[in-house]
C-alpha cells in the first residue's frame, strides 16, 4: 500500500512538473529555443509573491493577479531585448545569453534575499497541509490536487487557444515558418513576443505552486530548469499533453526512488530521463535503419 501511495503522490507531483515544463516546451515549439533562464524566472515569480504576502499581506492567490501580468510584461520585454537578438546569432547564442541571464537573476535574488529558504506555505493557511484521506495509507493533498487540476486546465487552455483563436493560429503559423507569415501580414516579432509573454505567465503560475508546496532560495532556479526540461523531453518536446505525461512519469519515478533511498529521489528521476532519451534515440536509429532497408528492397 505504501507503493500505491507513492505512485499517487508521484502522479500529483507530476502535475507541478507539467506546469513548469509547459512554458519551456511552448517556447521551444514556437521559437525553437530553449530558455536556460526558465527556472530562475519561476523563482523570480515565487519571490515576488513572497514579498507581496510578507510585506503587504496579500494572499499568494491574490498576489497572482499582480504577478502574472508583470510576468507577461517581463516575457514581452525579454523577447524584444534579449531573445530576439540572440536568435539572429545562430544556434549557440540563445543558449549562452539565457545562461548568462540566469546567472544574473540568481545572484540578484541572492543579493536581495540572501541565503534563507522561503516558502509561501505560511500564507495559504490550511491549504498547505489539508488532505483527503482515501484509505489508511493513501491520502491526497488538497494543494497537490489543485496543482494537478491547474496543470490540466493550463495545458487544455493552451491547446484550445492555439487551435481556436486568431492569435493562437498566428503563433502556430509563425512556429512553422517565421519568414513566410510576414507575407500574409503577420508580424513574426510581435507574435513571438506574445508567445514569450504567455510562456512567462505559465512560469509565474509554476513559481506560485513551487513556493506553496516547497521551499525555495535564490539558487533554486537551476534544479527547476532541469525538472522542467526532463518532463518536457520525457513527454516529447513540443507536445502539450506529452508534457503532462512527461511530468507524471518524472514525478512517479522520483517518488518511487525516494521510497528506495533518501538520495534516490533525484537519482531515479535523472536515470529515467536518460533512459527515455536513450530509448528514443535508439528507436530513431532503428527506424532510420528500417526505412533504409525498406527503400532498398522497394
Amino acid at each position: 500500500m505504501i507503493w500505491v501511495n507513492q505512485i499517487v503522490q508521484g502522479i500529483l507531483l507530476g502535475g507541478y512538473y507539467a506546469v513548469i515544463a509547459c512554458g519551456l516546451s511552448f517556447m521551444f515549439s514556437v521559437m525553437r529555443m530553449i530558455n536556460l533562464a526558465h527556472g530562475s524566472l519561476a523563482i523570480v515569480a515565487a519571490f515576488a509573491l513572497f514579498v507581496l504576502a510578507d510585506q503587504y499581506g496579500l494572499n499568494p492567490f491574490t498576489g497572482l493577479i499582480l504577478v502574472l501580468p508583470a510576468m507577461a510584461a517581463l516575457g514581452w520585454v525579454l523577447q524584444r531585448t534579449i531573445l530576439e537578438r540572440s536568435q539572429r546569432g545562430g544556434m549557440l547564442v540563445p543558449i549562452l545569453s539565457t545562461f548568462g541571464l540566469s546567472i544574473v537573476l540568481d545572484n540578484l535574488l541572492f543579493e536581495r534575499f540572501g541565503a534563507d529558504t522561503r516558502s509561501l506555505a505560511p500564507f495559504i493557511d490550511e491549504l498547505s497541509y489539508d488532505s483527503w484521506t482515501i484509505t489508511d495509507d493513501i491520502y491526497i493533498g488538497k494543494l497537490a490536487a489543485l496543482t494537478f487540476v491547474t496543470a490540466v486546465v493550463i495545458l487544455g487552455g493552451l491547446q484550445l487557444f492555439l487551435t481556436k483563436t486568431q492569435l493562437g493560429r498566428a503563433i502556430r503559423a509563425t512556429a512553422e515558418d517565421p519568414d513566410t507569415v510576414g507575407l500574409i501580414g503577420i508580424n513574426a516579432k510581435r507574435i513571438n513576443a506574445a508567445a514569450a509573454a504567455i510562456a512567462l505567465v505559465t512560469v509565474g503560475i509554476a513559481g506560485a505552486f513551487l513556493g506553496m508546496r516547497a521551499t525555495f532560495d535564490a539558487y533554486a532556479g537551476g534544479p527547476q530548469l532541469i525538472f522542467a526540461f526532463e518532463a518536457a523531453v520525457i513527454g516529447g518536446a513540443g507536445s502539450l499533453w506529452g508534457t503532462l505525461i512527461g511530468g507524471v512519469v518524472l514525478g512517479v519515478a522520483q517518488s518511487l526512488g525516494a521510497q528506495i533511498n533518501p538520495q534516490g529521489f533525484l537519482i531515479t528521476g535523472h536515470a529515467v530521463f536518460l533512459a527515455v532519451l536513450f530509448g528514443r534515440l535508439q528507436s530513431e536509429a532503428i527506424g532510420t535503419k528500417f526505412r533504409k532497408i525498406v527503400r532498398r528492397s522497394a
Binding site: 530553449i34 544556434m91 549562452l96 548568462g100 541571464l101 546567472i103 532519451l277
Partner: protein, 354 residues
C-alpha cells in the same frame, strides 16, 4: 586548381613564427618559476594555468565544435574524484592526477555516443543533467562521505614548498600539453572537419566528413581537459567536496572566459582565461555583485560581441599569432576564377547556420 604564380597559400606569417618562438620562450621561463617566485605567486599562476586548460578545452567543444555544454563540471568533478580514489588506492599523487584524467576521458567515450545525438539547447541541459547525476552518484561513495567530502591526504608526503612547486609544474606541464595537442588537432583534418560540422552539419556530412567520429574526438578531448583541470584543482585545494566540484559555476566561468576572450579563436580562449584571472583577483572579494557582473558581461558579449575581444582584434588588425587555417595571398578582387578566401581562419565562430 591552376598554379597561378601570383597566388600563394600561406599558413605561417613572420608574426606568427615570432609568436610561437615567444610562447616557447615564455613557457621555458615559466618552468623555472618555482626557483624565483614565492609560494603565493606560484599558487596564483597554478590557478591561471588551470583556467587556461578549462577555457581552451571548453572553447574546443563550443567554439570549434558548436557544442555548448552546461555540464562540463561533470568531468571536472569526476576527474577530482578519480584522483582521490587512485591516490587512496596507494598510487603516487601526481601520477593519480594524470591517470584520473585519462580514465575520465575513457568514461566520456561511451557517454558521448548518446549525448552527441542531442542538439543545441538539448545538449546543453542534457550535459547538466549528467553532471547532477554524477554528483549524486559520487555522494553515494562511502569514501567521500556525502557532502562532507574527503581530502587528498597523500599530498602530506610532500612538504609545503615541494607541494607548491610540484602542483605548479603539474599545471604548467598539463597546460602546455593541452595547448600543443589542441593546436595540432585543430590544424589537422579533424580541425577543418569539426569547423565544417559546426557551420553546417548536413553539408559537412555530404562532403564526406565523418560527423559522429569527429565530434566524438572533440568531446573526449574536452572531457579530458575538464577532468585534468579538476584533478589539478584538487591538488591545490586538497579537500574534495562534491558540491564545490560539481557546481555549475565552473561552466559559468568557462563560458565567461571564452565569450569575453573570443569564442572559436585559439588565442581568444587563452586571453579570456587571463582576463578572468585578473577580474577574479580584483573583484572576486566583492561577492555576489561580482557574479552578477560576470553573468551580465557574458550576456552582453554573447549579444553584441559574439567573437569576443580577440575575434574583434583579429578582424580589425588581421592579427593571427597562432594560425590554424590558411590564408590565400595575391588574389585580385575581380578574378572570378579564384577560390574565395574562406580558407582563412575563423569563418563564423559562433553562428552555426540556422
Amino acid at each position: 586548381m591552376s598554379r597561378d604564380p601570383a597566388i600563394r597559400v600561406e599558413r605561417w606569417t613572420p608574426l606568427s613564427r615570432l609568436s610561437i618562438l615567444g610562447a616557447t620562450l615564455l613557457l621555458v621561463m615559466l618552468a623555472a618559476g618555482p626557483f624565483f617566485f614565492g609560494n603565493n605567486a606560484i599558487d596564483k599562476l597554478t590557478t591561471l594555468f588551470i583556467y587556461v586548460i578549462l577555457a581552451v578545452t571548453w572553447n574546443a567543444l563550443a567554439g570549434y565544435g558548436g557544442l555548448v555544454s552546461v555540464g562540463q563540471q561533470a568531468f571536472f568533478g569526476l576527474g577530482a574524484y578519480a584522483a582521490v580514489r587512485l591516490a587512496d588506492a596507494g598510487l603516487n599523487v601526481y601520477v593519480s592526477l594524470v591517470l584520473a584524467a585519462v580514465i575520465i576521458a575513457a568514461v566520456s567515450l561511451p557517454i558521448s555516443s548518446f549525448m552527441l545525438r542531442l542538439k543545441g539547447g538539448e545538449f546543453a541541459i542534457g550535459m547538466w543533467v549528467l553532471a547532477e547525476l554524477c554528483h549524486l552518484l559520487v555522494n553515494l561513495d562511502s569514501l567521500v562521505q556525502g557532502e562532507t567530502g574527503t581530502s587528498l591526504i597523500a599530498l602530506n608526503a610532500y612538504d609545503a614548498d615541494q607541494r607548491h612547486a610540484f602542483n605548479y609544474w603539474a599545471a604548467l606541464g598539463s597546460m602546455t600539453a593541452i595547448l600543443v595537442i589542441l593546436f595540432v588537432l585543430l590544424r589537422s583534418r579533424i580541425g577543418s572537419a569539426i569547423q565544417a560540422i559546426r557551420d553546417n552539419e548536413e553539408a559537412a556530412a555530404a562532403l564526406g566528413v565523418r560527423v559522429m567520429a569527429t565530434k566524438r574526438i572533440i568531446y573526449v578531448f574536452a572531457a579530458f581537459g575538464a577532468a585534468l583541470a579538476g584533478a589539478l584543482w584538487l591538488s591545490t585545494a586538497i579537500t574534495f567536496q562534491p558540491k564545490t566540484y560539481f557546481g555549475v559555476q565552473w561552466t559559468a566561468y568557462m563560458i565567461f572566459m571564452v565569450l569575453v576572450g573570443g569564442l572559436g579563436t585559439f588565442e581568444g580562449a587563452i586571453l579570456g582565461a587571463l582576463i578572468f584571472f585578473l577580474i577574479e583577483a580584483w573583484f572576486g572579494g566583492s561577492g555576489v555583485w561580482y557574479l552578477v557582473g560576470l553573468g551580465a558581461t557574458a550576456l552582453l558579449f554573447s549579444l553584441f560581441v559574439p567573437r569576443g575581444i580577440w575575434g574583434w582584434l583579429e578582424r580589425r588588425f588581421g592579427l593571427s599569432l597562432l594560425p590554424l587555417g590558411y590564408r590565400i595571398l595575391g588574389i585580385e578582387p575581380t578574378a572570378g576564377t579564384s577560390p574565395p578566401d574562406d580558407g582563412e581562419r575563423g569563418a563564423t565562430p559562433s553562428a552555426g547556420t540556422p
